[in-house]
Subunit: 335 residues, 2 copies
């Protein structure tokens, strides 16, 4: 049969509770006792039963990652990071796609928390900014960590200074001689959309270039929206010589649209994106873009969440660095 905590206690010549203390790293155990128990655990190859712990303790050792976002590369990376943090602390990770039936997100979150007895949740954009969800989570007293939330006041989670990243990216375009630089905006629900737009404006301002509203077009982070936006830009009387798309998918869409018009990248128009998803390296030409350390962000979000679960006030917001990657999709401005 299975080896239980009782067996370990007998083997080590102590009580069950002492074994429990050692296992849970609680204080008040003599070092000698601790090592003796650890040896017994080792010898018997004892593994605690997760459900028994959950039932007897008050926590589920379970956190969920909430997402409502079609970008699988991004999600998979974040997921691996969160998973890593969870495994280190013997927590389990549950996935909660809120994809379909987005009408009643709050209801779904509620059901999830109640049914699964979640100890906490990791939020990804754009759920990070769904005020109704945040409020409900607060009411239910469920700790959460947000990845790239729009506002970072008094929150737990991870951010990147995307605004400065874009500013650098625009400076790169300017250094190549570009003056007519267009921007394809992201989806309005994402905080990133605002930061990237602000960074674009910062970059132009740095170079003393006036913002031309005609060069700022709507997108929604999808490949298609990038194509459509670019078609609009190409029809302008004075088309841009460079396009900064708010993410890689839209940048890829921009390149498709440009090619379909018989133009070439970067000879006729330079294009750059944001995120450094695999597609950035997989298209021709490879995209100049900005990398966020996505997996690391997941790991940190997970770690901060677990901190918050243990002690409410020990967790906070951490910032991670970005990298501007110059590849072949940007070149000197054409005449």
């Amino acid at each position: 049969m299975r080896v239980r905590i009782e067996d370990v206690a007998a083997e080590a010549g102590v009580s069950m509770k002492t074994v429990s203390r050692v296992l849970n790293r609680e204080p008040n155990v003599a070092d000698a006792t601790r090592t003796r128990v650890e040896a017994a655990v080792e010898r018997l190859r004892y593994k605690p039963h997760p459900s028994a712990r959950t039932l007897a303790g008050r926590r589920s050792y379970l956190v969920a990652m909430l997402y409502d976002n079609p970008s699988s590369n991004y999600l998979m990376e974040v997921e691996l990071g969160v998973l890593d943090a969870c495994q280190q602390h013997h927590y389990n990770l549950m996935l909660a796609p809120l994809l379909y039936d987005a009408r009643d997100i709050v209801g779904k979150v509620e059901a999830l928390v109640e049914q699964s007895r979640l100890d906490g949740v990791v939020l990804t954009p754009p759920i990070t900014d769904d005020q109704a969800v945040l409020d409900r989570l607060d009411e239910l007293d469920v700790p959460y960590a947000s990845i790239s939330p729009r506002e970072d006041h008094r929150r737990v989670g991870v951010t990147v200074d995307e605004r400065s990243a874009v500013r650098e990216l625009v400076a790169h375009l300017v250094s190549l001689g570009h003056r007519r630089i267009a921007h394809i905006k992201g989806h309005a629900a994402h905080g990133a959309t605002g930061w990237r737009l602000a960074g674009y404006r910062d970059g132009l301002k740095d170079a003393g270039i006036r913002v031309d509203p005609a060069l700022i077009v709507d997108g929604e982070f999808s490949h298609d929206s990038g194509m459509r936006a670019t078609e609009k830009l190409l029809k302008l009387r004075q088309p841009p010589t460079a396009i900064f798309a708010a993410n890689d998918d839209m940048a890829a869409g921009a390149i498709c649209a440009i090619c379909e018009h018989g133009l070439q990248v970067p000879r006729d128009i330079s294009v750059c994106g944001f995120d450094d998803t695999p597609i950035a390296r997989h298209i021709y030409p490879a995209l100049t873009t900005v990398r966020q350390p996505t997996r690391e962000m997941g790991r940190l979000a997970g770690a901060e969440l677990l901190k918050a679960i243990r002690a409410r006030d020990s967790a906070g917001m951490v910032e991670v660095p970005y990298t501007v990657l110059v590849r072949r999709s940007t070149g000197p401005a054409s005449a």
Copy 2:
């Protein structure tokens, strides 16, 4: 406080056990009693406590999806499908990336099963064909469902007739006038690699074209390997007029290599892939490829696994249909 089964029993005027019977759809409950209990559950908004069930019963209501595969689009889709199947049956899904530390996969699987008390696992390629893992799973008596395993005898899982799909794809190329059709093979560890090669041969045979070994080059499913393989093909004295890459990533790599040589797709060379991952639509030109219903495959694998968990012999192998998608990356053979 939380509402427990005891409260429901009181509310319905029956014993705990009767409520339990209704909840678990066990027999031996009068219809009238059943409806009465269901009403009480509804009224009290009762939700069973998963850990208590797990502890008292013998199952964990937990299955894991094992993967060792860098393709996030594929995995995310499969995952959504499996998740869907699990949720329908009130099972939980745990993710088990076996990415790093691939040395001791068997050990990791063992640890996972024992620690988490898994009721079963879903296997994705190429773990589906790791005989050591399969053997250990059999020994531990853990049911598993395989997605696209190399051999489907006496197994539980899901398959697609990839061989026939490729045969059709090659027929499409032939119908465009291509005779020198190259193939970039996939990673040797994957069963798919063999089927796709076989389908390629079938297609050539159908058209009465002799297989030219120089036109079959190694790849390993990565973008880079697709580029390298294509460079090799382009250096041939008689380069191919069409390339069938064993997946979309390699096809995208092929297009990059072709563009870098100053050639155009499909004007100079046609390219097609396999899988219909998002990149197939996001590059220029969009890829002719084959779609597998990935999410549905995940769902079915999950469903078959749960069947297997309930009754060992009720589950089996199911086959799902593919779709050949003709897009812009294939065109008439050049002179």
